[in-house]
Symmetry: D2
């Protein structure tokens, strides 16, 4: 018996990608902690904080691209075969809007 194959008709993030995303996100967390340390110093300059926040955005974006590529490759291009294309397209557009 499939226990609670959860969400989205059993579509799951590929384990290798999941691990890669996790590893990168750990590094994003480290980067966020670096910015927190900057913010603890009373002589920190605004622009230095803004540069670091921009770098965090960039790193976070790479995690997203990783997951998106996997989703496209494994779930989106096969949606018509599964018959869930309406849902797949609408949730994809929702995510991409103002990404």
């Amino acid at each position: 018996m499939e226990p609670k194959d959860c969400c989205a008709g059993g579509l799951r993030l590929d384990p290798a990608v999941r691990e890669d995303a996790r590893r990168r996100l750990l590094s994003v967390r480290g980067h966020v902690e670096g910015v927190l340390r900057m913010l603890a110093e009373d002589s920190v300059y605004c622009v230095d904080v803004l540069k670091q926040l921009k770098a965090v955005h960039g790193a976070l974006d790479k995690v997203g691209v990783l997951v998106l590529r996997s989703h496209l490759t494994r779930h989106v291009v096969t949606a018509h075969e599964r018959g869930d294309e309406a849902r797949i397209v609408s949730e994809l557009l929702e995510i991409l809007k103002y990404r």
Copy 2:
């Protein structure tokens, strides 16, 4: 002895804003940790991860707007008086590009 007051001619992020940014960034870190927990589950769905990453981007952006507003208000609008407007404008454009 003035320890040369660091960076950028002594311009500093306003303490109240710094504290507000730090508090919000702690919440961003918590959010990142939530996504890390999602990524530890083998049934996680790509789109749910992407949604959370998008929310983290949004929260991070709010920290940036906070710091940017303070920088504009305290340092940019007074740059001509200080005479460092060339540097102030060029570093601002650098940050805003593809924010």
Copy 3:
């Protein structure tokens, strides 16, 4: 004689969407012409130009979403069946990057 039906293995933008996109893009062109008229006035204020440019970005983005939705619905979700999924995914990621 079919002249090899052009591009991308015969994938074509849906005629109805094409017409809708064309109509919206005509309106974008009109908007651009409005900004050109603003720029012809010597008392125009920078921020008013920037606001209009932002509005043009928004209108342009809507054309893109329209075409993207059609592409996803008609070509991407069926890519595995056609067997061109590698190309479809890579060109999609290329477009979405820093959109």
Copy 4:
């Protein structure tokens, strides 16, 4: 007699920048017309349209950066001296949000 020095307390887009922006925006209009021609062809491929729209976004963005740089240099860094910094900062943040 000050004729109708219009908008925003007499702040005006620098004539040279205005001319440069106008020239570039004419080129953006040409680019939009190129996309309109693409959309008139019944064999046009979605991704080719999306690539062109992305290029138009990029060209439009360059016009914006031009005007923004001029605004920062001529109006924002002097705002405190004029005493209109509250307005200057708030309209700037409005424009930059989700640019």
